[in-house]
């Protein structure tokens, strides 16, 4: 993995000015994703996972905005580009998949319309060719009888099929990067696995870089190559999925693992992390996790929050866990 990463996020800071002060839903986040790699991003709601994805693709809702940091797409900086320039990158260079396939598709247009529209927008092809590719895209995501279903309206598909259509849409202009924002959350469990498998297959076959945002450790374990754990807008831990899952270094990651039922973990009792994530407007000083951390020491409370590069490069923690430490209840 020495080639240029498809996506490179450097010290990204997103702020939302409110009348109660400025909030930082994304605070100094840095990571890379390479071609053919799936980066899982996990965390609780409000940890900044989706916001990071939105920032990358340039779809932050007002009044949220990027205040500093860099986003490099195949080595080219894209933050600060003109609206139309970044629009042209969306779909073409980076695609996005949303959580709810029921609402992601325009109910009044056939899936074919929506596919060809996207293809025509980004690729220099004619109407017939676009249609051919649309059918191919549907076939690729496993829609049976794609040539007929292309004229169907979204409501004529089941939930899982709709998410396949959404994936086809995100990939139809052959982007290098796909941001999948909770792509399985709204689906039945049996369908979830299919979608995850599909994502994985497409990633491998096409060499696409995937940023898989989810709160589901199971999905991460199943699909991701590397995982980034976010807490209160900051990266808590970043590393290869095997290592992070089996040997969490950040107490938060460890807590998260302990509270997740994973088949690989065997029959242990599930545990909870005490307390809840603080609101962005009321972050504690020092490490944002310290009020909930059983290993917290004075340093955690007093010094500015730890970052990956100031710690061991994997976990943003002054006192990373070692193999022997166990998180107790």
């Amino acid at each position: 993995m020495t080639d240029t990463p498809v996506l490179s996020v450097r010290d990204l800071v997103v702020e939302i000015p409110t009348r109660h002060g400025v909030l930082r839903p994304v605070d100094n986040v840095s990571y890379d994703i390479h071609a053919g790699e799936i980066l899982g991003v996990v965390g609780e709601s409000g940890a900044g996972k989706s916001m990071t994805g939105n920032a990358v693709i340039g779809l932050l809702d007002r009044p949220a905005r990027i205040v500093s940091g860099e986003i490099l797409l195949s080595g080219q900086p894209i933050q600060g580009l003109k609206r139309d320039a970044i629009r042209k990158l969306r779909g073409k260079k980076m695609g996005m998949i949303f959580q709810d396939p029921l609402t992601s598709l325009n109910p009044l247009l056939t899936v074919g319309d929506q596919l060809t529209e996207t293809i025509l927008e980004h690729l220099k092809v004619g109407q017939t060719e676009a249609r051919k590719r649309a059918i191919a895209a549907l076939e690729e995501v496993g829609i049976p009888a794609a040539a007929q279903r292309i004229n169907s309206y979204p409501h004529e598909f089941s939930g899982g099929m709709r998410q396949r259509v959404v994936i086809a849409l995100a990939l139809c202009a052959e982007p290098d990067l796909v941001i999948a924002d909770e792509p399985t959350t709204a689906l039945d469990v049996s369908v979830q696995a299919q979608i995850v498998a599909l994502l994985k297959r497409l990633c491998r076959e096409r060499g696409v870089a995937v940023m898989l945002v989810t709160h589901d450790m199971g999905v991460i374990a199943e699909a991701a190559d590397r995982v980034a754990v976010m807490y209160a807008g900051r990266l808590a831990e970043l590393g290869p999925v095997r290592e992070v899952l089996t040997q969490a270094r950040h107490p938060y990651t460890a807590g998260l693992m302990a509270s997740t039922p994973l088949a690989s973990q065997g029959r242990k009792r599930l545990r909870q992390i005490p307390g809840s994530m603080p609101r962005l407007g009321a972050l504690p000083t020092g490490c944002a996790f310290h009020p909930r951390c059983e290993f917290a020491q004075d340093k955690c409370r007093q010094e500015p929050g730890p970052t990956l590069d100031r710690c061991d490069g994997r976990a943003a923690c002054w006192f990373p866990l070692t193999a022997k430490q166990e998180v107790s209840a």
């Binding site: 939302i16 409110t18 009348r19 109660h20 909030l23 407007g281 009321a282």
Partner: protein, 313 residues
């Protein structure tokens, strides 16, 4: 991101002042100005007997010879001076506007409330219950739509005249107007609420409430109603101004407030007769008052709609 960090116990007033609602109000100059105008006008209307220099509703105090006195000038016969002049009956225009606004505001509010209550109720019932209830309600709406407000007004006037004793007929006219405008306005509420109810009905939270066995009445009231209020508000704001104006139109067609106790609309109807003749003030000031009132209500409604809609903030 909705409530403030609460460092110290705050007074109720302080909390209200700091609420999102108040905050967005304080940052919307249009809302501030228009609510100020509405407030001033409502206050002026309510306090009319205290503010108005004359009582235009008391015919004994009128002097016909004061008729057509221009604003601020002395009448050629009586020597009396009036701030905004007098109308064709020698009534002080300023006082008449204040008193007329009372009637207009009352008619407007009451008529819209009536239309809203009828329309929302029937719309909810039609949308939620469906079937023959829906069919009947929507067909009644069709019948209602067929009848122009003027005919409804005439019908109600006719019936009311038959059943009210003569000494109450002056007051009756106002209730008749409320009924007539309210009754001819409910259909749009009903249709919109019905449409919105159909959408909400199929959503999960309603299904869930149904499953846990909440009564349809409670579901409609607690779950669906709050979710369909947005379009209702849009219609209600524009309807309020419209009701005030509709009253003027009915008066133009000859079935409005009695000319001896004129509303703002009746004043305009009377005033427009003097448009070519140079007595501009008889039309201009009441029209200005109506414009200010209706415009402010509408602007306030606009802002309110955006402010109350969390998704639009």
């Amino acid at each position: 991101m909705s409530d403030t960090p609460a460092p110290a116990p705050q007074s109720r007033l302080r909390r209200a002042w700091n609420s999102d609602f108040a905050w967005s109000f304080r940052h919307a100059p249009v809302a501030i100005i228009s609510s100020f105008v509405v407030l001033v006008l409502i206050l002026a209307a309510v306090l009319a007997p205290l503010i108005a220099p004359h009582d235009p509703f008391n015919p004994a105090t009128l002097n016909l010879m004061n008729g057509f006195t221009p604003p601020g000038q002395a009448n050629a016969f009586t020597g009396d001076t009036f701030l905004l002049g007098t109308d064709d009956q020698g009534r002080d225009v300023f006082s008449t506007i204040l008193y007329g606004m009372r009637i207009s505001l009352f008619v407007g509010f009451a008529a819209v409330m009536l239309a809203m209550v009828i329309g929302v109720t029937l719309g909810l019932l039609a949308g939620y219950l469906g079937g023959w209830v829906e069919s009947i309600i929507m067909r009644v709406a069709d019948v209602q739509l067929t009848f122009p407000a003027i005919l409804v007004a005439m019908l109600i006037f006719g019936i009311a005249k038959g059943i009210t004793p003569p000494e109450y007929r002056d007051q009756m006219a106002i209730w008749v107007l409320i009924l007539a405008i309210g009754l001819s306005d409910w259909v749009q509420f009903a249709r919109v609420v019905r449409g919105a109810t159909l959408v909400e009905k199929s959503k999960e939270y309603v299904q869930a409430a149904r499953l846990i066995g909440r009564s349809p009445f409670a579901i409609m009231l607690r779950h669906i109603l709050p979710n369909v209020l947005n379009p209702v508000l849009v219609i209600a704001t524009i309807s309020l101004a419209l009701a005030i104006i509709a009253e003027a139109t009915l008066s133009f067609l000859g079935v409005g407030a009695p000319p001896t106790k004129p509303s703002l609309g009746t004043l305009i109807r009377i005033g427009q007769e003097f448009m070519f003749s140079g007595e501009w003030w008889i039309l201009f000031f009441p029209a200005l008052a109506l414009l200010a009132l209706a415009l402010s209500i509408n602007l306030l409604g606009d802002w309110l709609r955006d402010a109350l809609n969390p998704r639009l903030r």
